[in-house]
Amino acid sequence: MNPKELESELRALLAGRCRLDVSDFDPDADLVRELGLDSLARLRLLAAVEHRLEVRFEDARLGEIRTLRQLAGAVAEAIKTKGGAS
């Protein structure tokens, strides 16, 4: 999956979880403070991403994933550690 495809996949997973139009928001916007997810909704989004893309984020990094860009970065890293399944 290339970065563009990954981003649109993530946007799709985010759509419906927040009330804003996800097509044109800033990838650096804070998921909780700016996009209106509550803290559990943020975790459910991470769970959905793990489930859908069959990856697993490092536990110690969970708290750091606060924007769409960081989420994409974490997915890329998780894919790499998994052994290059892309």
Partner: protein, 433 residues
């Protein structure tokens, strides 16, 4: 400390560095006063009403002009409330004080007010306003202790007053009181004469009105124990499911006994329930409530938490440190229990003798209060009494130790991972939830 009140300096400093603690603090800082929105609703429609937060007025700001000022009260911030009341009265504006602390300490409050209202504003405020219009404000009014949710007493909170304000969470109340009647409780049970519940259709209408005034609302029920009546509970859950809200409430562990209730809870958008577990062992729970209900349910805590969380509803488990039957052994026991239970969130507080509670009266009679007046330390984190089986400093340092054990990065990450795995276990292949 990001919204959570605490006076003890070491704890305040420690608190800022603990991620699990700071998160709750951010939430706490952002809720409006449902008490005042209710008072506004009881005000005749020909009178203009304005809602203000006490933090919006600094002691050196000029006072805004009003004909009458009503101030609500919890114990921890009562001195700020009194100071504002004194300023308004010095400027010739009559002040009415109401709310929990005022109801529990009426004589003290009366020294700072032209009039005080005890119990719910329902049944008192309309009379008070009429008396005020006629220039006959009385020094004290007794609001209702029962029938508050029945016509014609019930008032529909004025959520519209919050329009344009930056709240991301709102409260709606479905009930007052709790059959448990724990000795330490300083919540609505102190201003009601029994458990009272709103009709479901009224709660639904209030939730809709609350949702209409804010963009990304998360709803907190301002209840002490929402699911006392399981039949009412199921009717309520079915009714709010179509509203698509995310919400949180406080209730007791018995919700775990009813799988249908748990399924409906999850479907209705309930994200978390806060449960007063109080102590991890049976001996720690002795004589907490008159029926020893919590002690009798303690053995099932772990299984009940697992069952609730398996439905995708997380449990915020609350523990009280310094209970009379606890020894210093309680600190590692709470830590072990928290680890074993997989609780997503944990709230550790210290036993607090709020003035006007049975606990306060007992500790005062036993000569165990550390100071005669300590209201600004009624934060649930500051120690104000001599514990029975440990020293004050053992309790303080034990609590700090436990904070470090429970709210550090690694433990928070572990709890978050646990929650994500629960969510994933319930997900279909496409990642919807």
């Amino acid at each position: 400390m990001s919204g959570v009140r605490v006076r003890t300096r070491e704890l305040a400093e420690l608190g800022v560095t603990l991620p699990g603690f700071v998160n709750r603090g951010k939430v706490i800082a952002s809720l409006p006063s449902l008490g005042l929105l209710t008072v506004a609703a009881l005000t005749p429609p020909d009178i203009d009403v304005a809602y203000r937060e006490i933090g919006e007025t600094r002691p050196d700001d000029p006072l805004e002009r009003f004909d009458l000022v009503g101030i609500s009260s919890f114990t921890a911030q009562i001195d700020e409330a009194y100071a504002l009341a004194d300023r308004y009265r010095a400027a010739g504006v009559p002040v009415v004080l109401g709310g929990l602390h005022v109801s529990l300490m009426p004589d003290e409050a009366a020294q700072h007010a032209d009039s005080i209202v005890l119990n719910g504003a329902e049944g008192a405020w309309p009379r008070l306003v009429e008396d005020f219009r006629r220039g006959r404000l009385k020094p004290r009014y007794e609001g209702l202790r029962s029938g508050v949710f029945q016509a014609p007493n019930h008032a529909f909170p004025r959520f519209d007053l919050l329009r344009g304000r930056p709240y991301n969470r709102l409260t709606v109340q479905t009930s007052r009181g709790c059959p448990m009647d724990c000795e330490f409780c300083a919540a609505s049970i102190r201003i009601t004469s029994g458990f009272q519940q709103k009709p479901v259709e009224r709660v639904v209408a209030e939730i809709k009105a609350a949702m209409a005034v804010t963009d990304h609302p998360f709803l907190e029920l301002a209840d002490d124990n929402t699911f006392v009546n399981k039949r009412w509970g199921k009717e309520f859950l079915r009714a709010i499911t179509p509203l698509g809200v995310s919400w949180f409430t406080e209730t007791d562990i018995s919700v775990a006994d009813d799988d249908e209730l748990l399924r409906l809870l999850a479907e209705s958008g309930c994200r978390q329930i806060l449960v007063g577990l109080e102590s991890p062992t049976e001996d720690g729970l002795a004589r907490l409530d008159p029926h020893d209900w919590k002690r009798r349910h303690c053995a099932r805590y772990l299984e009940a938490i697992a069952r609730i969380q398996s439905h995708g509803v997380t449990v915020n488990g609350c523990f009280i440190l310094g209970l009379d039957s606890q020894t210093p052994e309680v600190f590692p026991r709470v830590r072990d229990f928290v680890r074993e239970s997989g609780l997503l969130e944990v709230q550790i507080t210290v036993m607090t003798p709020f003035p006007g509670t049975p606990l306060y009266r007992r500790l005062a009679a036993e000569g165990r209060l550390l100071q005669p007046r300590y209201w600004d330390r009624c934060t649930l984190f500051d120690v104000n009494f001599r514990p029975k089986h440990m020293t004050v400093s053992e309790l303080e340092s034990g609590m700090r130790w436990l904070f470090g054990e429970i709210y550090n990065d690694a433990e928070c990450a572990r709890r978050q991972r646990h929650y994500m795995e629960l969510v994933k276990a319930r997900m279909p292949r496409d990642g919807a939830d």
